[in-house]
Structures are given as C-alpha cells and as structure tokens.
C-alpha cells in the first residue's frame, strides 16, 4: 500500500508541477504589469519631428559651451564649414554637424550625419543626405535629392525629391512635382503640393493640392427650413394620411422653397408624432428612388436603407443616411447630414455632405464636391479635382487602402492612406 501511495503522490506532483512556473512568477515577478501606457502622449502628427527636436535641445543643454563653439573641431562639406559636436541622442552618442549661419550644399553632395543649421539651408540637386536635417529658418531643395528627415521653419521641396522618413515645417511645406515622402509630411500652417507625388500621411490645418495660395472658399450654401407653428400644423394635420411628397409640396407652397422630403419626417418625429426609436417607413413615407428598399428612421435623426441605392440629380436629403448596400448619387445631391455606406459609393460632381462620409467599399468622390467633416473608407478612396474636405482646420481623409487625389483638391486636417497617398493627374 505504501508504494501505491507513493505512486499516487507522484501523480499529484505531476499535476501540481504545471502550476510551478506560475508560482515562480508570483513569487519573483518578472512581468508584473501593469501594461505600460504613456498617460501624457497626445495625438500629434508632428510627433516625430518634435521628439527629435526635444532630444536635440536636451542634448545641447548637456553639451558644454566649449564643445558647441568653433573650438570643438570642424568639417568642410561642399565648401561649407560645420562644427562637429558629439551629442547624446536617442540612438546613443553621435556626431552632429552644426552651423550658426546660412548653408548652401551644392549638387551631388553625399553626407550621412545629422545637420543642425541656425540660419537658412539650400540644397541643390542630386544630393544624398542620410542624417536628420534641422533648420531654424527656411530649407530649400533642388531636384532629385534623397533625404532621411527634415525640419525647418518653411520647407520648399523641389521636384523628384524623396524622403524616407518625416518632413515637418513650422509654417509652410511646399512640395513640387514627383516627390515621394515615405513618412509623415506635416506643417504647422499649410501644405502645398504642386504636382503629382506619393505620400503616406499629410497633416496641416490646410492642405492644398495644385491651387495657388489663397483663401479656401466655404462651399456651403444652403438655407435651413425655419419651422413655425403654421408649418408644424400642416405636418400634424396631414402626416397620417398623405405621402411625404405631398406634404413636402404643401410646405413648398407655404415657404416658397424646397423642403427635403425626409426633413418633413424628421420634423414629424421632433413633434412627437412617433416616439419609437426605430420606425419602419412605409412606402408613402419614402421617395420614389427608395421605393424598392426597406427603410427605417433611427432615433429621429438617421435613415437606414437596406439594399443598393441610386439617388437622382439635385436631390436634397435631410438627416444622416446609413445605406447598407452600394450608393450611387448623381450630380448635385445635397446631404444635410453624414453618410455611412456599407458597400461602394460614387458621388457625382457638386455633391455636398454637411457631415462625414464613411464607406466600407470603394469610394469615388466626383469633381467640385464638398465634405464638411471627414472622409473614411475601408477600401480605396478616389477624389476628383475641385473637391474640398474639412472646415475650420478640422476634417480629413483616411483610407485603409489607397487614397488617390487629383489636383485642385483641398483638405483641412489630415490625409492618410494605409497603402499610400497618390496625387495624380486623373483618378
């Protein structure tokens, strides 16, 4: 029996052995947590350049005044004299070339250390600079240069420049034809892109592609229906009996302007004619182009439509729209709210969206459209010439695949494409 008990003990020991690693971790924790969260990290598109500047500044504080002066040794690059300063950077100690005045690098210069310039910097053509560039004033480049990263007060990138990292300007970033920036391109005030190019992310209060400097015009031009007791009475008396189109006509006669058919529905809801959060709309409550679809009004502010939808030209729709299928909106359609499209979406020229546009499929926005807030797609986004997105420096375009834009488009805020941003003559 004793030996049997030993065997039994061995079995229990084997079972308990499984818990031993956990016990070791409990007694001597090597991964106790919590998960490290940077509590003070903000959303800042200019994060990389600011972080780099921060390291530079901190390192320069630590470095002695002697080392920062001309006595610390110097290098001549392309005829320009730089002081060699060893700074303790995020990568470890490295030699940084510093200049107190203006710098001009002639064509064909190859250099691979960070450069810090207190004045202006001009880089001619076909240079390869594989260290970060930090310029206090303006940075101008010629054509066909290769850079790693650059920060300056204003940056003027010539044609066919390629940057493998980030580019950040305190004020203006101007980019000529044929440039390629693999990291973030950001500016404190404005980005101007003057030709085709390939990017990953662009962020600035104003981003203009192919337009001259000037004010962006607010393309919003609408007049809201001013509801009154008389108008409300028309709705209350007729809502249960007449189709929306008839009520809309009665209101038009009263007000002298077109009232969006679903604006009537929203107003009816606001008047408490139906309190349910989800209302299935009958045929008479839908316009003709929604007749074959199932449609609901959600919480008195959003319309949900099942199936594919085609909206004829110059229609006006109040409220937000959720379209579960594909959407094809002809020219001049005016959406008074935001739109969510479950499939792909095509918007004809002159479309206005007074909110955001979110699409699960491919998205094509025609010429001269206006989207007041954001554009987002899980697929490719194509934006044709003349379209503008965003208002008051807020807004943006983001796609989980590629974003393709023609020239003469403007965005306030940010443009981001997971698979890149392509500026083209035509999409």
């Amino acid at each position: 029996m004793l030996n049997y008990l030993l065997l039994l003990l061995a079995f229990f020991m084997m079972a308990l052995l499984v818990f031993v690693p956990g016990f070791i971790e409990l007694r001597r924790p090597k991964d106790p947590g919590p998960i490290d969260i940077d509590m003070d990290r903000d959303i800042d598109e200019r994060y990389f350049s600011k972080a780099y500047k921060k390291y530079l500044k901190a390192s320069m504080h630590k470095t002695s005044a002697d080392q920062l002066s001309t006595d610390g040794g110097s290098t001549i690059i392309s005829g320009e004299s730089f002081n060699d300063v060893v700074l303790s950077m995020h990568r470890g100690p490295e030699v940084v070339k510093m200049s107190d005045g203006d710098v001009h690098l002639s064509s064909g210069t190859d250099f691979n250390q960070p450069i810090v310039v207190a004045g202006e910097m001009t880089i001619d053509d076909e240079c390869t600079l594989l260290g970060e560039i930090n310029v206090d004033k303006d940075l101008k480049t010629g054509f066909d240069n290769r850079l790693i990263a650059a920060h300056a007060g204003n940056i003027f990138l010539g044609s066919d420049n390629s940057v493998s990292g980030w580019v950040d300007a305190e004020r203006l970033l101007s980019i000529e034809e044929g440039c390629e920036i693999e990291g973030r391109a950001t500016a404190g005030e404005r980005i101007m892109i003057n030709g085709n190019g390939l990017f990953k992310a662009l962020a600035a209060p104003q981003i203009s592609i192919g337009v001259d400097e000037g004010e962006f015009s607010n393309r919003l031009d609408f007049s809201e229906t001013l509801w009154s007791t008389d108008l409300d009475r028309i709705i209350i008396e007729n809502f249960d009996e007449k189709p929306l189109s008839d009520i809309g006509r009665m209101l038009e006669q009263s007000t002298g302007k077109i009232v969006a058919y679903n604006d009537v529905l929203l107003r009816a809801n606001a008047l408490g004619l139906s309190k349910d959060p989800l209302i299935a709309l009958e045929k008479k409550q839908r316009p003709s182009y929604f007749e074959s679809n199932k449609m609901w009004l959600q919480c008195g502010e959003t319309f949900r439509v099942k199936g594919n939808v085609k909206i004829p030209a110059d229609e006006r729709l109040a409220g937000n729209m959720i379209i579960e299928g594909d959407l094809k909106a002809s020219a001049g359609v005016y959406f008074e709210g935001s739109i969510h499209v479950g499939g792909s979406a095509t918007f004809g020229s002159g479309t206005v969206v007074e909110g955001s546009l979110v699409c699960q499929g491919e998205l094509l926005i025609g010429n001269n459209c206006y989207i007041e807030e954001c554009v987002y797609s899980s697929n490719d986004i194509k934006i044709k010439a003349g379209t503008s997105v965003g208002k008051d420096s807020l807004g943006g375009v983001a796609g989980e695949k590629k974003v393709m834009m023609e020239r003469f488009t403007t965005v306030q805020g940010k443009i981001y494409g997971e698979d890149g941003i392509e500026i083209r003559s035509t999409v």
Binding site: Y4, L7, L8, A10, F11, M14, A15, F19, P21, D31
Partner: protein
C-alpha cells in the same frame, strides 16, 4: 502581429503524419507503455493479469464503438459498500465537513467549490453502493483498461492544439517543435503514471473510488498540462519576440 502561415502548414502536415503513425503503430506504442505500467504496478504491489485480446484499430477509440482490445490489464476489485447506518452517518459527517468548509473564510472560494465537488462524488458513490448496488453501474468488462485509455489518442489532440494555437504565432519553428516534443513526452509519462494510479486505486480501494477515478483522472484532466505547456511555449516565443520585457 504577423501569423506564420508556413509554420501552421508544417504543423498540419505533422498532424497528418502523427495520425498515420498512430493508426498504424498504436499497438507498438501501447506495448512500450504497457511495460512501463507493468513496472509501476509491480512497484505498487498491485496484482494484475494481462489478457491478450485481438487488437482494435484507432476507430475503436471512439467511445460509441468501444470494445476492449489488444493487451488488456485486468485487476481484481473488491466491491465495497457500507451498511445503511454507516452510510448515513458518513454522509452526515461529510455534509457537515462540506458546510464548514464553505463557511470558513480562510478557504478561498475555488477550493470551496472543489471540496464540494469532491464531496458530491463521494456522497453519490456511497448512496449508490449502499442503496442500489455495491457493483458499479457498468459491466465487468469495462473495468479492463487497454490502449484506448492509455492517452495515445491525446497525442493527436496535442499536436492539433499546438498546430492551431502555437504554430501560427511568430517565432522560430524549432521552439515550437521543442515544446511540442516536451508536451508529448510529458503526456507519455503522465498517462503511464495515471493508468497505474487508476489500477492501483481500484485494487486497493475497491469500487468506492470508481466515480472519483473517472472524474479526477479522466482523459480530460490532461488539459491541465496541455494549458501548462501551451503557456510555457508561448512565453518562450514572447521572450524571443520582445527580449526586453519581463526577463
């Protein structure tokens, strides 16, 4: 995190190979394990006989079609039951024990639940053997233990679990195979010891431990060490992936 599809495909291929290997070599594997179990039973002074029955292939591992087959361990079992008075007294004592265990604040909740579960098994066994029959509710033939209880089938499950849980994770293939090998080896030893413990328990403690052995040493309890090896394998892969964290 990028999944490593190629490793998973290799794992799938290995699962297939393992399945073929088990189908055609179960008898041989059981032969080795049988020797180990024999040695352990001899060490534990358990009387046993080995009966040679025709070997059933892997399909008969499925419970619905179970029939003892191959070399089978037969162990003499005492059928034990208490007198009704003693049974009721025992149940009362056990119930009181259960009640006080539950009320004691120093006993953590999971252990309270475990104790209650064990007591349920013991009490139901006492009730059955005292008031229904001292013979466990299944035929004598079911007391034979053969290769189908040996854990050979669990090897296939182990390989499949590793294929879908560990192999797609980023990391070197050799680490994954190393931990799979260790898990299979541990499984072999575990199953050998488990079989010996079950036979020994039935021999020394009789029919009273039937239910307990089925629930406490059944094949599903293997998940304890499967999760254990899974966690060790994953921790190793995590260490390689992020060498600065927690080491």
């Amino acid at each position: 995190m990028e999944p490593v599809v190629t490793h998973m495909v290799i794992g799938l291929f290995f699962s297939f190979i393992m399945a073929i290997f088990l189908v055609f070599n179960a008898e041989w594997i059981w032969g080795i394990q049988k020797e180990v179990v024999q040695a352990l039973l001899t060490f534990a002074n358990v009387e046993f006989q080995i009966e040679k029955l025709p070997f059933n292939d892997l399909r008969n591992g499925i419970p619905a079609f179970y029939k003892p087959g191959g070399d089978v361990f037969n162990v003499p079992i005492k059928y034990m039951s208490l007198s009704p008075v003693l049974a009721i007294l025992s149940i009362a004592v056990l119930s009181l024990f259960g009640f006080f265990s539950y009320r004691l604040k120093s006993v953590p909740l999971p252990f309270k639940v475990l104790i209650l579960f064990l007591l349920t098994l013991v009490i139901s066994t006492i009730l059955y053997t005292t008031f229904v029959s001292p013979i466990p509710p299944h035929a004598i033939g079911r007391l034979a233990i053969d290769w189908q209880f040996s854990g050979i089938i669990i090897w296939l499950l182990l390989v499949v679990i590793f294929t879908f849980s560990i192999f797609p994770v980023k990391g070197p293939l050799w680490v994954k195979f190393m931990w799979l090998g260790l898990a299979l080896s541990y499984s072999f030893i575990w199953n050998s010891v488990r079989l010996s413990v079950v036979l020994g328990s039935l021999y020394y403690l009789g029919s009273s431990v039937f239910l307990l052995t089925h629930y406490l040493t059944g094949i599903y309890i293997d998940f304890i060490y499967i999760v254990g090896f899974y966690s060790l394998a994953l921790a190793h892969l995590a260490r390689i992936e992020t060498s600065e964290v927690g080491w």
